[in-house]
């Protein structure tokens, strides 16, 4: 049986803007291969500049890979073929403030994917938008709102609604939870988990936070300077003898908490 998404030797190189045409290209991602199955959550981790966002963008179709292929259910995904891709793979951006058009109502923005990728009538589109809005915990009346009237948590919900409105199989979230405060973040995570249960979506989650990874990821992929150094099930990765880099990524917050506590203890002792 083929996997839901297979990434084969995917690589990305680019040339810096002001470089000569013959100078060497810098490598963002060295050829990597991995796969995800339906309903799984894959967490992509790595330090800043390790190519996580580039990987997310290539999978979502924002950028084109320099080499390698993406296969979805045994079907090859073509670059720049947005219609094919957006039925199956959707993306949630890091910055919900900027990823909504400030001059269109939410209903019009949610209508875009339906308008260009389905043959629904205006009435059916409206019904779908209502369903999507309710699904992410908003009211149908919010459809007439402009983005500046919403809080950041609500904006992120709208972004999720936009991602799931075409009922995709994979949702790529590029640091989608970073800007939110903890309670809203928890709400959004629960929402994403609910949607995963209801619709069987696979998530590709680019994140810094080891807590979130431990909480929801089925598999972990760790990048180090464009190289994939770990790709395995979460419990195996967590249980293994880890390289220092991996350990730092996955357990850093614990050390920080301990350090914080010891600092506090010291202060009290002083």
């Amino acid at each position: 049986m083929s996997h839901l998404l297979e990434v084969k030797n995917l690589g990305k190189t680019y040339r810096p803007r002001k470089a000569w045409p013959w100078s060497q290209k810098s490598v963002a991602i060295e050829p990597i291969s991995f796969h995800i199955d339906a309903g799984e959550t894959l967490a992509v981790m790595g330090e800043t500049g390790s190519g996580k966002s580039t990987l997310a963008k290539i999978i979502a179709g924002v950028d084109n890979p320099s080499s390698g292929e993406l296969w979805l259910n045994g079907q090859k995904l073509h670059n720049q073929h947005y219609q094919q891709r957006c039925h199956n793979i959707r993306m949630i951006f890091q910055d919900s403030e900027n990823s909504l058009n400030t001059h269109l109502t939410l209903r019009k923005q949610l209508e875009e994917p339906l308008k260009f990728n389905t043959n629904l009538t205006a009435q059916e589109r409206n019904e779908k938008i209502d369903i999507a809005l309710r699904r992410v915990g908003m009211l149908t009346e919010h459809g007439e709102f402009y983005p500046h009237m919403l809080s950041s948590g609500q904006k992120q919900r709208v972004c999720i609604a936009r991602a799931i409105i075409l009922e995709p199989q994979i949702v790529v979230a590029d640091e989608a939870l970073v800007g939110l405060d903890p309670s809203v973040r928890a709400q959004i995570i629960n929402l994403m988990l609910d949607l995963q249960q209801d619709m069987g979506i696979s998530y590709i989650l680019v994140t810094h936070s080891p807590q979130i990874v431990k909480h929801i990821a089925d598999k972990i992929l760790i990048l180090y300077r464009g190289k994939m150094i770990v790709f395995d099930k979460t419990d195996i990765v967590l249980g293994d003898d880890q390289q220092p880099y991996v350990h730092q990524l996955l357990h850093d917050h614990l050390n920080k908490q301990i350090k914080f506590k010891s600092d506090k203890a010291k202060k009290i002792a002083d």
Partner: protein, 297 residues
């Protein structure tokens, strides 16, 4: 029965509506806008409003001062010039050449410039980049000088002047539109729409255009005042619209000879020109202010 609004009605003003509300709050900007609208109405209805023909000479009323002075005659509200032609009629009809024509020129050049600018803003291939640089180079020449060069090649005359100024305004529109579109193109919301599978025309008109409308409107007001100045200056130099035609700039040039004898023949076209350009600039400036206030709040 009195109409009572029982229910709270939800009102969701769009960002553009909010800018308009800010704009409306200022007395100065609204005054300028109303003056500008009145001017445009005058342009449209000037053939009906003008009491006399512009070329009709009154031999018994040469160099008559405006009617509010001692020697004035109510028949000629703003006096007559040295050939006995009615100033009011000439000013009214002159608005067609001094304001109507620039509006037309700006409309034509903005459409051409915005279309080219939008295409150059999206497409970043070498071919289009070369085009962009060529237009950027044209920008280094002041638009007035460029109009002069074009007139030097084509010769004077109403059509040639209009053509020259229209052409000289295009590079600025290309520059502004290209930069605005390019800036928006890399923002997340455009990427999101691109991933939605939107077609390029839809991206441009429905997604990007509302976001850059204020910048474009501001450029329109700047270009309009530049066009009015250019056409008046060219006519003043005798390169533009030729003398019997009552263009404000050429009226100014004519009045130079008898400025001590009949100062009104210089002051009246000058003041009209001043008020027109002033109101356009205030409208543009208030728009910029309203916009930045909305962004900051």
């Amino acid at each position: 029965m009195p109409h009572i609004n029982l229910y709270y009605k939800d009102e969701n003003p769009s960002p553009l509506t909010l800018v308009w509300r800010r704009f409306k709050e200022r007395l100065l900007s609204m005054t300028a806008l109303y003056i500008l609208l009145a001017m445009i109405l005058v342009v449209i209805f000037s053939p009906i409003l003008a009491p006399y023909s512009t070329s009709m000479q009154f031999a018994d009323a040469v160099s008559l001062p405006p009617s509010w002075t001692e020697q004035g005659n109510i028949q000629f509200l703003m006096g007559t010039d040295d050939l006995g032609r009615d100033m009011l009629s000439r000013l009214l009809i002159g608005s067609i050449y001094s304001l109507g024509l620039p509006i037309l020129m700006v409309a034509v050049s903005s459409i051409i410039g915005m279309v080219i600018g939008a295409v150059l803003g999206i497409d970043r291939t070498i071919k289009y980049q070369t085009f962009s640089r060529v237009f950027d180079t044209l920008l280094s020449i002041p638009s007035f000088l460029m109009a002069l060069i074009i007139i030097a090649i084509l010769g004077t005359g109403l059509f040639n002047v209009a053509l020259a100024i229209t052409l000289s305004l295009i590079p600025q529109f290309i520059f502004v539109t290209r930069n605005a579109v390019h800036q928006e193109w890399h923002k997340d919301y455009v990427t999101a729409s691109r991933l939605n599978g939107c077609s390029k025309p839809y991206l441009l008109y429905r997604v990007i255009l509302p976001n850059i409308t204020p910048i474009l409107v501001m450029q329109l007001t700047v270009s309009l005042s530049v066009a009015i100045m250019d056409i008046a200056a060219l006519s003043f130099l005798g390169l533009g619209i030729q003398s019997p035609t009552p263009e404000w700039g050429s009226m100014l040039a004519r009045s130079l000879d008898e400025v001590y004898l009949s100062p009104w023949s210089m002051v009246l076209p000058g003041v009209t020109l001043f008020v027109t350009i002033m109101s356009i600039n205030i409208v543009g400036d208030s728009l910029r202010r309203a916009l930045s206030e909305r962004v900051n709040s």
